[in-house]
């Protein structure tokens, strides 16, 4: 579909261009007629003045052409004049004999176009009675003038008029473009506002909009609200299901652990151990699913956000993770900028995020081998805010897989147990806090997960 700008330009531009052409044509017609009439009048006037130049000397007609001239509007002296004076049905008195006369009888002055000696001429022919020395004669006068002066005049007029119209047209187009731009500005503002949004931002569009656009905005907002409700319902269902699964999974896990501790039969023990492992995994998945559901941006009430100390949260998360990290033969370290930034956030969610990042490093840093190195948690000042980073010195991740790590249930290594939600939750929590999670391989080896918080 054509853009609104193109539509407006076409609908403004085409009719105006057409109108301008019609105006030019009409002007040309009217101007030509006016100029021709004026020139014709003068031509007639000149022809009529010939009468006064005729006098008779001893019954012979003479013409004094000394003072004969035609003053025309545009001739500037370059118009060529031809004339022929003769008695009707009689002798030639003066002028150019070859100048063609009218073919019909004249009872009033007649204008006509004629060619003479390679010139396009406009001629007037008239007859008048001449009584000189009691002689009555009928004299025919033809005066012709080249049509060039009138054509030049018309052309000059038309050129000036066209130039004026062209300038006017350009001005009109400029004004139209500005008007279109101004008129479309609110739409552009809305487009930019939508473009800048994160994919998870379903907050309604706000701000002043022109009356014409308001229904559109309203529709967009209604659509977003419906999407938000739909996501909310899905997440609520997810949360409810996870919640309902917690107790049965706990029972399975507890009973298998208990029986395992009591049983001495090798095969039963092996099976029980497997059941226990599966229940543990299921429990972890249920837990992570619930967290995933609860940290969705749409479900987070911004009223619950409080000013939180990022370093204190990292300390808490490290304390929680320390035991299991050290039991896996790994080390944990916290490098925190002393001037701890406080930011608006949900402390429990942020702790989950840090925990998930530590767990991810702890479980996956070694690739196929168990990881035996150190995990560094760092809070650093960076341009335009703060950065929380969790780094390991493991084998890193294949570049092609990096981008997929935050997908739900995507697991780079299926041999290692995990819910497949850890990094998705971390990313979601980061987004909920207006931050961005970036995963990259470190130059010195290993993976760095960093969360950049805006200031």
């Amino acid at each position: 579909m054509r853009s609104i700008r193109a539509r407006l330009l076409i609908w403004i531009g085409l009719p105006f261009t057409g109108l301008a052409l019609v105006t030019l044509l009409a002007s040309h017609y009217l101007l030509s007629r006016q100029i021709n009439e004026t020139f014709d009048d003068m031509l007639l006037n000149a022809a009529e003045r010939v009468e006064r130049r005729i006098h008779s000397v001893d019954g012979e007609l003479r013409i004094n052409m000394h003072y004969f001239s035609i003053s025309t509007l545009g001739s500037r002296g370059d118009g060529k004049i031809f004339y022929r004076i003769q008695e009707v049905d009689g002798d030639m008195l003066a002028g150019f004999a070859g100048l063609q006369g009218p073919t019909t009888e004249l009872d009033q002055p007649l204008f006509y176009d004629v060619d003479y000696a390679g010139n396009a001429l406009r001629a007037v022919a008239l007859t008048f009675p001449l009584t000189r020395a009691n002689q009555y004669r009928e004299i025919e006068v033809i005066v012709a003038e080249s049509t060039e002066p009138r054509r030049t005049l018309i052309a000059e007029f038309m050129l000036t008029l066209s130039s004026l119209m062209a300038v006017g047209g350009l001005l009109a187009i400029t004004i139209a473009l500005v008007a279109i731009h101004k008129g479309l500005a609110p739409l552009n503002a809305i487009r930019r506002a939508l473009y800048r949004r994160s994919p998870n931002d379903l907050e309604p569009l706000t701000g002043e909009v022109p009356r014409e656009v308001a229904p559109l905005i309203q529709s967009i907002n209604q659509l977003m609200e419906r999407m938000r409700l739909s996501i909310q319902n899905t997440q609520q269902l997810n949360a409810d299901v996870s919640h309902q699964l917690r107790t049965p999974v706990s029972e399975i896990r507890a009973l298998s652990e208990l029986t395992l501790a009591r049983s001495h039969e090798p095969e039963a023990r092996a099976n029980l151990d497997e059941i226990r492992r599966i229940a543990e995994h299921a429990g972890h998945t249920v837990e992570q699913l619930l967290r995933y559901a609860k940290t969705r941006h749409e479900l987070v009430d911004s009223a619950t956000l409080a000013s939180v100390d990022l370093v204190a949260i990292c300390c808490d998360a490290c304390s929680q993770a320390a035991m299991s990290v050290y039991q896996r033969g790994q080390e944990l370290a916290l490098e925190a900028d002393e001037a701890a930034p406080s930011l608006l956030g949900d402390p429990i969610m942020l702790r989950w995020m840090v925990q998930n990042l530590i767990d991810n490093a702890s479980l996956h840093a070694g690739g196929e081998q168990p990881y035996r190195g150190s995990i560094q948690v760092a809070v650093e000042r960076q341009e335009g805010g703060y950065r929380l980073a969790v780094r390991d010195a493991g084998v890193g991740v294949d570049e092609a897989r990096l981008a997929r790590l935050t997908e739900r249930f995507y697991r780079a290594d299926t041999r290692i147990q995990g819910s497949g939600l850890g990094l998705a939750i971390a990313e979601q929590i980061a987004q909920t806090h207006g931050a961005e999670l970036t995963l990259r391989n470190r130059q010195e080896g290993g993976l760095e997960a960093s969360v950049s918080f805006p200031a």
Binding site: R246, T247, E251, M323
Partner: protein, 223 residues
């Protein structure tokens, strides 16, 4: 040591109490809040394991009542409800620790032991961790049964680490524990005590330094 397990789910109640008995507790089970309150009034318990979703009287209300009448029994909460609101609520109402379902029985036993140990940290019970043994009455630390000659401050640090074994302890907590109003202890002093402790013990007893955070005495790596 007596523990009261308040849990309305039979399987969980049975499993938890069995696991705690394996750890050395004597366990009683209550199925609802009201009977739990009754049990607490007559029996002297060292610990309560409390499920929050209970019939009759819910867990949080029971906990609130207990704390209102100055009963300081250590309480470990077990809940199917999630952390976002419940954890804070539980800890604010005076719970000492919190476990979310699903949990492992080992975790329940370890937390239960730690809670009792912390509640009795002035109580004079012998503390053990791998090759280490600490006798609070005599203020004596033994390694493989042989006494180690330590300064009083070093012994206090060791006692605190043993009480909190398996948990990350930061320097501030140790400094607070050691400090008196007349004699404040700085973070760097804590570092000195710990490094001297290490030197005098001479062997790895599972005491880790967690850079930027503090110390961790790992009972499973204590030799």
């Amino acid at each position: 040591m007596k523990v009261l397990v308040v849990e309305d789910n039979d399987n969980l109640a049975r499993s938890i109490s069995a696991a705690l008995e394996d750890t050395g507790f004597k366990a009683d089970v209550s199925r609802d809040g009201l009977s739990a309150e009754h049990c607490l009034e007559i029996g002297a318990y060292d610990l309560m394991v409390l499920d929050l979703g209970l019939p009759e009287l819910d867990g949080i209300s029971l906990l609130r009542r207990l704390r209102q009448r100055q009963d300081n029994i250590p309480v470990l909460i077990i809940s199917a409800r999630d952390a976002l609101d419940q954890r804070i609520l539980g800890l604010e109402e005076g719970a000492d620790d919190y476990l979310c379902k699903p949990f492992s029985l080992d975790e329940v036993a370890a937390r239960a032991k730690a809670l009792v140990r912390r509640a009795k940290q002035f109580g004079g019970e012998t503390l053990r961790c791998g090759r280490l043994e600490f006798h609070p009455d005599a203020m004596e630390l033994r390694l493989d049964g042989k006494p180690v000659a330590l300064h009083r401050r070093e012994l206090e640090v060791m006692e605190y680490l043993l009480i909190n074994q398996g948990r990350l302890v930061n320097k501030g907590q140790i400094a607070d524990r050691l400090s008196t109003t007349d004699d404040p202890v700085s973070h760097s002093a804590v570092e000195t005590y710990v490094s001297r402790l290490r030197k005098k013990l001479g062997v790895d007893v599972g005491l880790k330094t967690v850079r930027g955070l503090g110390y961790l005495l790992d009972p499973q790596d204590a030799g």
